[in-house]
């Protein structure tokens, strides 16, 4: 029986589909194993990079291994802690606000004194050209949080200018900056409430 005749038989279809599925699954399984370690390393490097962007000064521990999970109004928060010689100098954690098109996720760093060391937007789906000015590549706005703390400005002024606060909004987009300001303020309040625990060097993972 030649190929021409076999091709129209019912059993041939099953064998063919099964064979193709087997070969492709094998290829995928092999590729998944070959790339797994590299992908994990690249993702860890990504997190490290975003951590280093919201931190100032020098630290000597591996932040990815020195974490603490605390409950907050926004659910459990994973806190990365930066130490120098064992003493906790700053903490980094994520906060989120609701923007124009879903969640706006920010990573923020706060030092021992409760001052912001930096804020970056990690994930958002805001309108390109309007709300996306919260990205440092598009505008310097996100740096206006640097060195601010609860008290500078005072709590009532932690808002965009349209709402009587001190932070700029963007032409044509108020919802996104308002969400970020509110989220960052929430983050500082979270830090304030949990200050003792966050700065307790004996808690959490070891440096």
């Amino acid at each position: 029986m030649n190929l021409e005749e076999m091709r129209s038989k019912l059993w041939y279809q099953g064998v063919l589909l099964g064979g193709i599925a087997l070969i492709t699954s094998a290829a995928l399984a092999y590729a998944a194993r070959a790339t797994e370690a590299d992908i994990r390393a690249a993702e860890a490097a990504d997190i490290k990079l975003s951590l280093s962007m919201v931190l100032t000064g020098k630290y000597d521990n591996d932040l990815l291994k020195d974490t603490l999970t605390l409950p907050s109004e926004q659910g459990d928060v994973l806190v990365y802690r930066a130490r120098r010689a064992g003493k906790i100098e700053a903490v980094v954690f994520q906060v989120h606000g609701s923007g124009y098109a879903g969640k706006v996720v920010c990573m923020m760093g706060v030092n021992r004194e409760g001052h912001i060391t930096g804020v970056r937007i990690i994930k958002h789906a805001e309108t390109p050209g309007l709300g996306d000015k919260v990205e440092p590549a598009k505008s310097k706005w996100i740096f206006s949080f640097d060195d601010k703390f609860l008290g500078n400005p005072v709590a009532d002024l932690w808002a965009v200018k349209k709402d009587g606060g001190v932070f700029d909004q963007f032409a044509g987009a108020t919802i996104t900056p308002r969400a970020v300001v509110k989220a960052v303020k929430g983050g500082l309040i979270f830090f304030d409430k949990n200050r003792a625990q966050l700065l307790d060097a004996s808690q959490g993972g070891k440096p």
């Binding site: 279809q13 063919l16 599925a21 790339t35 690249a42």
Partner: protein
Amino acid sequence: MSRNLYARITRDGLWDNNVVFAQTLGMCPTMAVTSTAANGLGMGLATTAVLVVANMLISSIRHVVSEEVRIPVYIVIIATLVTLVDVSINAWAHDLYKVLGLYIALIVANCAVLGRAEAFAAKYPILPSGMDGLMMGLGFTFALTLIGAIREILGGGTLFAGAHLLLGSAFSFMEMVIIPDYKGFLLMVLPPGGFLSLGFLIALKRVIDKRNAERAAAAAASAPVELAAAAH
């Protein structure tokens, strides 16, 4: 014959039978990524790579695959290829992945890839099939980059913004501000802008094709007269 075949494949892929402007296939990635020219270019190039390999693979097994189960076989092969490209870029070109990552999975949803497998690779030898994949891919890249450029210029006043993320910092010279101090035209950046640009471009292609056809017809009609005149 073979030179004619390749010339035909090239013309078809780039213009006559362009994936976007003539076949109107792959609309999902077309609308999704063409908010800037650089994004369109990146998506186009990634699709081209998949098209070439998928076409050649499918062509190489075309005698073995039976009529009845060809579609699932093609789909499985295309999906596997796209996943392989996805994980390799993620692992070994992670910076590129951060720009293109979202789009790569979309290539599976691009019916142009299955369309070429079915319409061309299943019937032709490996080399012409690879060529067809390359030309269809380049035609797709051209279309996406053009739509992206129009939307980006009208929507934001820039061109190829973010190209250095895609192609490396050597290509940052491509990033241009076409209209300085432009306030932006949001409609073009949002999905309706994609449909508007595409509609006008398809209309423009029709006009060009019609004019060419008329000119060719006129040339054919006048040729005998000229010959007759020359004879006198």
